[in-house]
């Protein structure tokens, strides 16, 4: 792997995470710097993702770099049958950095082995989306003043939610205590329960979304329960409104509680929560640009 590539949260040490958080804070203070002047960054989005792409491209632009790339594989030669290898090799000759989203799992690791320039993973199938995890970690650190010894409650689709899985791995360095709230069909997979056991992390699982759990949390991480994840639609109808947060559920919560959500939200957070000072999901999204500025500079050793 090329030194500097940013592929998986599992590759990051505690020091890496803390260094990236420090850099992110610097960019939040002063987002416009011209450290990328004269550099070209390629955004290769084999699968559309408007939010992530715009966030990365904003980050590059704020750093004074230039962007080439595509936002949909249908317009590229991969639709003519070109392999990922050839595309990445070619673009690596043009650009100083590759930012890639791909629908296949492991695509980013593979690209990082092929390319002569660093590769940043902007999502590879259901596997990893490490820049999302960095902005989540930054948001937690910023609102709590630390990452250590926090109680983090995760709600919704814990089975397929890759942001959930990556956040567990990212937080694992900081002695967290987790609470997981999900219907049986969307329970956290065994491999992550095993991961927590191996790392000696405390966790509890619930099927009921109760105020008792909210009241003992520092972070409430909400995710969307998606209809298409259910084999039994009756089951979906039963649970679809159960994992919804209303503002009156927050009355007994801690002052430092903050609500996060990777967005887009549908109905899992009611709009009356938006006015609560504990709602942090829009700021969280804004932190995405700063976190990505930090990741880009780190990858290029700037």
């Amino acid at each position: 792997m090329k030194k500097g590539s940013f592929v998986s949260v599992a590759d990051l040490s505690k020091e890496d995470i803390l260094r990236l958080i420090r850099k992110t804070a610097e960019f939040e203070e002063n987002p416009n710097r011209t450290v990328l002047e004269g550099k070209i960054c390629a955004t290769l989005f084999f699968e559309p993702s408007t939010r992530t792409r715009l966030s990365f491209e904003t980050a590059v632009n704020r750093l004074g770099g230039r962007v080439i790339g595509f936002s949909d594989a249908a317009t590229t030669s991969s639709s003519k049958g070109e392999t990922l290898k050839d595309t990445v090799k070619m673009v690596g000759n043009y650009a100083d950095l590759i930012i890639m989203r791909h629908y296949l799992e492991g695509a980013a690791r593979y690209a990082s082995e092929i390319a002569d320039v660093p590769v940043i993973n902007a999502g590879d199938g259901a596997n990893q989306h490490p820049s999302q995890t960095m902005l989540d970690l930054y948001s937690i650190h910023k609102t709590q003043g630390t990452l250590e010894d926090l109680t983090v409650t995760m709600v919704g689709d814990l089975k397929y939610g890759r942001t959930i899985h990556s956040l567990i791995v990212g937080m694992s360095h900081f002695r967290p205590s987790f609470r997981f709230i999900a219907p049986d069909e969307l329970r956290l997979p065994e491999t992550y329960r095993q991961f927590m056991d191996n790392h000696g992390l405390r966790y509890e699982e619930f099927t009921e979304f109760s105020e008792d759990v909210i009241n003992e949390s520092d972070i409430l991480y909400m995710t969307r329960v998606q209809r298409e994840r259910f084999t039994d639609l009756m089951e979906y109808e039963k649970v679809k409104n159960v994992y919804t947060l209303h503002s009156d559920m927050l009355t007994g919560s801690r002052d430092n509680l903050r609500i996060l959500h990777p967005l887009p939200r549908v109905n899992e957070i009611m709009y009356d929560v938006d006015d609560s000072p504990k709602a942090y999901y829009f700021e969280q999204a804004k932190n995405g640009v700063y976190a990505r500025q930090a990741i880009i500079c780190d990858a290029l050793k700037l």
């Binding site: 599992a10 791909h102 799992e105 492991g106 690791r109 199938g125």
Partner: protein, 154 residues
């Protein structure tokens, strides 16, 4: 020569080479292919479904003029963990070797995730052994873990 002796001599003695013993019968031909034995030009005797006190039925390979490196042998640890290799020189066993599961398996197993890059592009598979005792592999690309009973060889 008595009847008993004739039975033992079903497979000819080897002057120089390697005898691989205790191969599970059902894995014998997989072992042949993993070690690239079909490409050898030297004489090879293949014993299949032989009686074994320990294993019930077993396979044996006698390969003349061939000595394996340890990492070649390790390729078969996944499917035949209890194999024993006798290194023969001048009709004598001069060394015994065993297969050890390596930390990384290159191009041996298939990833069970259909959406893994290794199943969609010409990429050599690479797994880390995350649990030696129960044999669990983790794909270094898509990060999916595969348990022993689900491992499929290429």
């Amino acid at each position: 020569m008595g009847k008993q002796n004739k039975k033992e001599l079903q497979i000819a003695a080897l002057e120089n080479g390697t005898v691989i013993d205790h191969i599970p019968s059902e894995q014998l031909f997989k072992v042949v292919s993993l070690l690239g034995i079909e490409n050898l030009k030297t004489p090879v005797t293949i014993g299949y479904n032989l009686d074994s006190k320990k294993m019930g039925k077993k396979g044996i390979l006698k390969i003349a003029g061939k000595f394996f490196e340890q990492d070649e042998i390790n390729r078969i640890a996944l499917i035949a963990p209890s194999v024993k290799l006798n290194i023969i020189r001048d009709y004598e066993v001069v060394e015994k070797k065993y297969a050890r599961l390596p930390d990384t398996l290159l191009g041996i197993a298939k990833c069970n995730n259909p959406k893994c890059i290794t199943n969609n592009e010409p990429v050599r598979t690479r797994f880390t052994v995350t649990d030696r005792e129960n044999v669990t592999l983790k794909c270094e690309y898509c990060e999916l873990k595969t348990k022993k009973e689900d491992i499929e060889l290429l």
